[in-house]
Subunit: 214 residues, 2 copies
């Protein structure tokens, strides 16, 4: 049975997963410290693991395994807000986005799908989490769905109890401000088992599996 | 640059990785306890990770990533010794061996290659570790080579300093007898950095990266 999974989701010690304002230069706003301390290189996904193979890299490399589609918020696709002023801009990733599957981009402003040679395609959808998931499942066949973020999107799917697996990475930095991972989710841990592991880099990896999901 | 990797290699507390005698019923002899305590299901390899996704499963699932060929000892392929009495027997795994790449089987008794629809093929070779590696590299293109075991094979490649990465799993069992992982390898750790992590199952995962290999 296909699952809904979140991978490599970074959270600061004070609970932020992105900065408040994203720009072309700063895709996750002022929260760059979350990734600067992070040894993941997870965009290599399923094809390779960089040398040396560390615990962080091995854990983050499960990102692509068995995944048939991703759902992301508009801010993960790019910094534009409102109507699409520049449709020539096709995402942060240039000609080879790392996803290699269909990707559903949640936005109130629809536009035509975009396809890339490496198997990635973006489909822009104005939908509830439930409807977006149904669309992603059609695109994914019997493979799993990854909720790719940002934090607002992950939070919506968690609130709707649609997440089966969450790989959370606690990064030992204090951001002081940003987009919260946890707003409105008090007690969410009751629906999951949680396994934790530390790595030499100082990160803590948490594996949340929804009770009854397997 | 392609690397030579070992993954998910189980060792008991007293240093054994297989039983002394393997049979059709007991592919790793009396060392079955090594796997009975092991939550890996690593043969799912690169395609999926079973639910729930545990630390053990995530770590072991890097097994197939970026791998273009495997080298294994004859005992991993099957229990026959000496001349091949039964060439109809095509390995422990039935019609769909989990490898999905070419596999070099080290044996003094050559036989014709075997191919399967899922991309697995077995090539029987009487060769030194160095020559087997050259053959595997031809088969793997620019992808990495996995040394698949058993322990005697891994030990030979370690002794020849041909291993770039070793994922060792210390299993908290005492076997009392078997095929040693460590015979003749005193001080081998000097050639590697080692990162360790424990998991909820009681296993300890060690990531050995050869110094200067990256």
């Amino acid at each position: 049975m296909a699952r809904v999974r979140v991978h490599n989701f970074n959270v600061s010690l004070d609970g932020y997963s992105a900065g408040e304002t994203i720009t072309l230069d700063k895709p996750i706003g002022e929260a760059g410290a979350l990734f600067a301390r992070f040894d993941g290189r997870f965009i290599h996904g399923v094809d390779a693991v960089d040398a040396p193979i560390t615990l962080d890299r091995a854990l983050t490399s499960t990102w692509g395994q068995g995944i048939g589609a991703e759902i992301m918020g508009r801010g993960k696709f790019g910094p534009q807000t409102g109507e699409w002023a520049d449709e020539d801009w096709r995402g942060w990733w240039g000609d080879a986005p790392p996803f290699r599957t269909p990707v559903v981009v949640l936005t109130h402003h629809r536009r035509a799908p975009i396809s890339f040679e490496n198997g990635t395609s973006f489909h822009f959808l104005d939908a509830t989490p439930e409807d977006a998931l149904a669309c992603a499942q059609d695109l994914a066949g019997d493979r799993d769905i990854r909720i790719g973020g940002g934090p607002t999107t992950v939070r919506q799917f968690l609130a709707a109890d649609l997440i089966d697996f969450l790989h959370l990475v606690t990064v030992p930095v204090v951001l002081g401000a940003g987009v919260s991972m946890w707003d409105g989710l008090a007690g969410v841990e009751d629906r999951f088992t949680v396994e934790s592991a530390t790595s030499a880099s100082g990160l803590t990896h948490q594996f949340w599996n929804r009770i009854g999901a397997d």
